[in-house]
Each structure stands twice: as structure tokens, then as C-alpha cells.
């Protein structure tokens, strides 16, 4: 236990330099991006004087190093600046939209894991059978499908033809968000006030977007789980467990899958960034009022501070998730703690 705690503390401290590097990259990328925010705001024909004045106002006339220092200082104070287009703090725009994205990505990841890992394990256990080929085919096909196309198909089939699920937004017209909104995570909010009808509505709205996002990524996990399971099932401790008379199911899933899960978990950490990218597309398809849609809207408007803010938050999420993954890693595999 002491070792575990020491590992977690050390790993958390290591996140600090990682965050620093991430913030620096975001700063640099925004400055390298083509296009000038000031002329974007004022139009190409603004008088020189007005441009200078605007630059001064935004702090863009200062040397890069000073801008960089200011930026770090702001981020350290949880301030991501003010939108250039709307007179609104970037942080408040983000706190409005972030919960929607968190809800979507958590459910997307759940779908990915619940579909990908069991199917991959089952395929490995039934290697070279018809089921195995079928599952592998599904994995490849689903991974090749573009997120937005899958979303459109789901909307058409399950939303329009079958009319099982709503096709857009987080809530239906009969549910008034203002009656329950506290954290912005609607599932928690509705649970807090015991509003079951609203909870049901929120869950129904989540089905298609999270299936869309989750299924596409599940293809990777099917292949990854299957490959790792095949390796693990060849190992001596599996044979030794069989030789002790342990039943097939625990041999394959308790010993096999748990050992195969360690590399899968690593992959999960890496997939968080793909999940975020997928969320941007899914949100657009399903009019999901989250970070992805915010990012897309503000890119069209060249609202640099907001773009920068959203990317910083995405980077923080990825860093945070990789920390979580590493901690779970240590909980599963005792060898990691030393």
C-alpha cells in the first residue's frame, strides 16, 4: 500500500512538467496558425491606427516572450482570457459547454469498452471460428466508417424510421433544463432532484451520440483485445491454471483477460485524444451543445482566445486521463508499483 501511494504521488508530480509542455505547445500552435486575429476582427481595410489600438488592447504588440508569460500567468489563475467576438469570459463559455462533452465522452468510452473488450476477448477465445471472423470483420468495418456518416445513419434509422430515439440536443422540448441545472451534468442533476422523467429524457438523448462515438472507436479495441488475449492465452500460467482444473471461463476471463487488459488500458489513455476529436464531429452531427461545437463555431469566427481556451481544456483532459490510466494500471499490475 505504501508503495502504491508513493507511486501515485510521484506520477501526479510528473504531470506538472507535462502540463507545462502542453500549454507551451498550444501557445505556439495558435501563433503559428495562418491568419491575423486583428484583421479578422476588423476586416482587411481597417485604418492602421485602429489596428494598432486593437493590438494594444489585446496585448498582441508586446514581445512574444511577454505574451507567453502573461498567458501562463492567466492560465495559472484559471483565466483563459476574453472572447474577441462576444464580450464574454472564455472560461464561462467553456463551463457552459464542458459538462455536455464530459457526459458524451464518458458514455462514448463506456460503449467503446463494453463493445470492444468483450467482443475481442470472445473472438480470441473462439479463434479461427466463424464468430471470430465475423467479429473481426465488424471491427474493421466499424473503424473505417466516418463518425458523422454513422451518426447520420443512426439518426435516419433509429430516429426517423423507427422513431426510438431523439436525434438532436441533450433534452426534449418538454423538459425544462432550468428546473434542474446545477452541475451541468444532466444525469447527476436530474438524480439530485429525483426527476425520473427528465433523467429518462436525458438518457434517451445520450443513446445515439454515445453509440456513434463509442462504436467507431470500439473497432480498435476489438483488434487490440483480441491480439493481446491471443498472446496471453499462449502463456504458461494459463496452461498451469488449466492443469489445476480451473474451469474454462475463469481461465480465459479472470487470468486471460485481466492480463490482456494492462496494454488495453494504455491504449485507452492514448485514445482519449481520439475520443475528443470524435466528440467534435459527433457534437456537430447531433447538435450537441458541447466543447466540440463551441470549438467549431469559434474557428469560423476566428475567436482566437476561445479556440486557445478550448484546446487548453482538451489538453488538460488528456493529461488528466493519462494520469488516471496510469493509476489504474498500478492498481491492476503489482509490478508497476516498484
Amino acid at each position: 500500500m505504501k508503495n502504491l501511494l508513493r507511486y501515485i504521488i510521484a506520477r501526479t508530480l510528473l504531470t506538472i512538467p507535462m502540463l507545462f509542455i502542453l500549454l507551451t505547445i498550444v501557445f505556439a500552435v495558435i501563433r503559428i496558425m495562418p491568419g491575423d486575429p486583428v484583421s479578422a476582427m476588423l476586416g482587411g481595410h481597417a485604418p492602421e491606427k485602429v489596428i494598432e489600438q486593437k493590438k494594444e488592447e489585446l496585448g498582441l504588440n508586446k514581445p512574444l516572450i511577454v505574451q507567453y508569460g502573461n498567458y501562463l500567468w492567466q492560465v495559472a489563475h484559471l483565466d483563459l482570457g476574453t472572447s474577441m467576438i462576444f464580450k464574454q469570459k472564455v472560461t464561462s463559455a467553456i463551463t457552459d459547454k464542458l459538462p455536455a462533452t464530459i457526459e458524451l465522452t464518458i458514455f462514448g468510452m463506456l460503449v467503446t469498452l463494453l463493445v470492444g473488450v468483450p467482443l475481442g476477448a470472445y473472438a480470441a477465445d473462439n479463434r479461427r471460428s466463424g464468430k471470430d471472423y465475423l467479429i473481426r470483420l465488424f471491427g474493421i468495418v466499424i473503424y473505417c466508417i466516418p463518425v458523422y456518416w454513422l451518426g447520420l445513419m443512426f439518426q435516419m434509422i433509429f430516429g426517423v424510421w423507427l422513431d426510438w430515439f431523439p436525434v438532436a440536443g441533450r433534452t426534449g422540448a418538454r423538459v425544462f433544463v432550468s428546473t434542474f441545472e446545477q452541475t451541468g451534468l444532466y444525469i447527476i442533476d436530474t438524480l439530485l432532484i429525483n426527476d425520473w422523467a427528465a433523467l429518462w429524457d436525458v438518457l434517451m438523448h445520450l443513446v445515439l451520440p454515445s453509440l456513434t462515438l463509442g462504436l467507431v472507436l470500439s473497432g480498435i479495441f476489438i483488434r487490440l483485445t483480441r491480439a493481446n488475449m491471443l498472446d496471453v492465452l499462449k502463456s504458461d500460467y494459463i496452461l498451469a491454471a488449466e492443469a489445476r482444473g480451473i474451469r474454462h471461463f475463469p481461465v480465459v476471463y479472470k487470468h486471460g483477460l485481466l492480463n490482456a487488459f494492462v496494454p488495453i488500458l494504455t491504449m485507452m489513455g492514448l485514445q482519449v485524444s481520439l475520443l475528443m476529436a470524435g466528440a467534435v464531429l459527433t457534437e456537430s452531427t447531433f447538435s450537441w451543445p458541447g466543447m466540440g461545437r463551441l470549438l467549431l463555431e469559434r474557428i469560423y469566427l476566428r475567436d482566437y482566445p476561445t479556440i486557445q481556451g478550448v484546446i487548453v481544456i482538451f489538453a488538460l483532459i488528456v493529461a488528466f486521463m493519462s494520469l488516471i490510466v496510469d493509476i489504474i494500471y498500478a492498481l491492476i499490475d503489482p509490478r508497476v508499483r516498484y
Binding site: D236, Y237, R244, G245, I246, N259, P334
Partner: protein, 319 residues
């Protein structure tokens, strides 16, 4: 004569692969009597491990028992339903493997792995009682019971092999199949392990099938020896007979190729030729292409077992 714990009759094990069928074990018949240690020797690929695995029906597909019988106290393992087989594994017959470093699941503590084995075979056993039994077993093995809470990676190879054998014996099986159990250990740990095995054998009244390619180990550990070559039995008899007076030309060659510390021979006597191709084995005796005493009959007919100086030899020389 003591009763037979295990009787193998005309066992054939085959692996159909894309280029043909590997005949890994061909027509092997042998008995293990209660309380004895049977040494199974031969070079890599001679079928000795495959024979060991087939006793518990642990062959990896496409390997399978093509024909023959394996009787454990009169019950045929080959035709046994899966449920009965699972009960037999670990409870009546245990197996330990070559590499102790990889034979324990790295994600579970030693105690968990004892517990799992006990719970599988004794439904409803209390956790406390199971762990006490595991702790007692560790004491038998000369390992502190505190180690139950540790993970395999925290132990040395020799310790892990002792734990393997401990998990194998926790349910009091009467037959232990040891597949090259000392190959991965250094000589000092190997000697300690063999002493321990001897001790446990008396304590638990074990019958042991000891599979190895190491002639020194087999001489030290076994009562009887079976020499295998190319999937077939070449010679079988008591350890003294086979070592003092090997009859089969393969056994003779094998013994001559062991380096001698007294340097009575200036050079190692290496056997000419290579082990046979088991997909297309040579006709007649599988050993004939390498045999210094080869005769015409050897190239045509598979030799039967002949009695020679108190033990059985599959060689036409002793017809």
C-alpha cells in the same frame, strides 16, 4: 508388485498441420507403479513433453490423442467427459512446468492462486481455512507463510518452482507430472529442488513422472527410466539397468555424449545425424539413419519391444 497408478496403452498423439501430420507420440505403452518415479528422457522434440501433456489432455489444438488409452486407476482419461476431467486435474493429477518464472499469474498473489485452486475443487471452503492450509504447505516447502501476500515477481525462480509444486500438491494428488521442472534453475537450486521433491514424495506418497533431457538429473531422481526417440519408446527399465548396461544404440549414444569430468575420453562423443522428421519419419526403426549397428530389417520394420538383460528395448539387435 504394487498397483499401477497410470497405464498408458498404445498411445498415439498427432498434430495435423498444413504440411502433413506430426506424429509426436507413436505407440507408447508404459505403466507407473504406485510410489515410483519414472524418468522420461530424450532430446528436444522426441515427444516426451507431449506425452506428459496428453495425460491431462492439455494438448494445444491441433494436437490430439489419435488413439490409445490412458488409464488412471482404471479410468480412461481419453474418453472421460470434460467435467470429470476438470475434477481430475489438480485434485488427482498435478503438473508442474519448465519455466517457474512464467507459470504463476503475475497479477494475483501467491495466496490468491492457492485459494483459487482450493475453491475450485472444494466448494464452499472457508477462506481462512484455505489460507491456513496454504500456509502449512509453504512451511513444508521451506517458505515463510508471510509470502502468501506477495506477488510472483517478488520471488526467485527456485522459490516460484517450489510454490508451483506446493499449489500442485495442496489437494493431495497421487500423481505428479513434472515437465522439465529444473531446466530453468541453476545447479545449486536444482539440487535443492530434487531433495525437496524426494522429501515430498515420501510425505505425500506421490507417484511421479519426471520429464527431462538431463541424464544426470534423471539418474539421481528416478527409479525407472523410459528413453524416448522420435516419438517412440526406445528403452525402458530400472535406472540402474539402463545406466549400467544400456541396450538400445540410441541410449548408448546418449550416455556416451555426456561430458565426463574425469576426462577419460579426450573428446565428446557426439551422435552423428539429426533427430527425425516427425511428419515423414524414416521407414522401419526411426533411429536407423543414425544407428551404428543398422541392419536390413531396421529399414523395413518397426522394431517390437524385446527383453534384453532385464529391461525392454525396442531394437532388432535383441530379437
Amino acid at each position: 508388485m504394487k498397483e499401477n497408478v497410470l497405464e498408458i496403452k498404445n498411445l498415439h498423439v498427432q498434430f495435423p498441420i498444413h504440411i502433413g501430420t506430426v506424429r509426436a507420440v507413436e505407440d507408447v505403452s508404459l505403466n507407473l507403479r504406485k510410489g515410483e518415479v519414472m524418468g522420461l528422457v530424450g532430446e528436444s522434440g522426441c515427444g516426451k513433453s507431449t506425452l506428459g501433456f496428453s495425460i491431462l489432455r492439455l494438448l494445444r489444438p491441433p494436437g490430439h490423442i489419435a488413439s490409445g488409452e490412458i488409464n488412471y486407476h482404471g479410468r480412461d482419461i481419453c474418453s472421460m467427459p470434460q467435467k470429470e476431467l476438470l475434477e481430475l486435474r489438480g485434485r488427482n493429477i498435478s503438473m508442474i512446468f519448465q519455466d517457474p518464472l512464467t507459470s504463476l499469474d503475475p497479477l494475483y498473489t501467491i495466496g490468491d492462486q492457492f485459494l483459487e485452486t482450493l475453491r475450485t475443487h472444494e466448494k464452499g471452503i472457508k477462506k481462512k481455512i484455505a489460507l491456513e492450509r496454504a500456509a502449512d504447505m509453504l512451511k513444508n516447502l521451506g517458505i515463510s507463510p508471510n509470502r502468501l501476500h506477495e506477488y510472483p515477481h517478488q520471488m526467485s525462480g527456485g522459490m516460484r518452482q517450489r510454490i508451483m509444486i506446493g499449489i500442485g500438491l495442496i489437494l493431495n494428488p497421487d500423481l505428479l507430472i513434472a515437465d522439465e521442472p529444473t531446466t530453468a534453475l541453476d545447479v545449486i537450486v536444482e539440487a535443492q529442488f530434487l531433495d525437496l521433491l524426494n522429501e515430498l514424495r515420501e510425505k505425500f506418497e506421490l507417484t511421479i513422472m519426471f520429464i527431462t533431457h538431463n541424464l544426470g538429473v534423471v539418474a539421481q531422481a528416478s527409479d525407472r527410466i523410459t528413453v524416448m526417440y522420435g516419438g517412440r519408446m526406445a528403452e525402458t527399465g530400472t535406472a540402474e539397468d539402463v545406466f549400467a548396461d544400456p541396450k538400445h544404440p540410441y541410449t548408448q549414444g546418449l550416455l556416451a555424449s555426456v561430458p565426463n569430468i574425469k576426462l577419460e575420453q579426450p573428446e565428446l562423443q557426439a551422435m552423428p545425424g539429426a533427430p527425425p522428421d516427425l511428419v515423414n519419419p524414416p521407414p522401419g526403426c526411426v533411429f536407423h539413419p543414425r544407428c551404428p549397428h543398422v541392419m536390413d530389417v531396421c529399414k523395413q520394420e518397426v522394431p517390437k519391444s524385446f527383453q534384453a538383460n532385464g529391461h525392454m528395448t525396442a531394437c532388432w539387435l535383441y530379437k
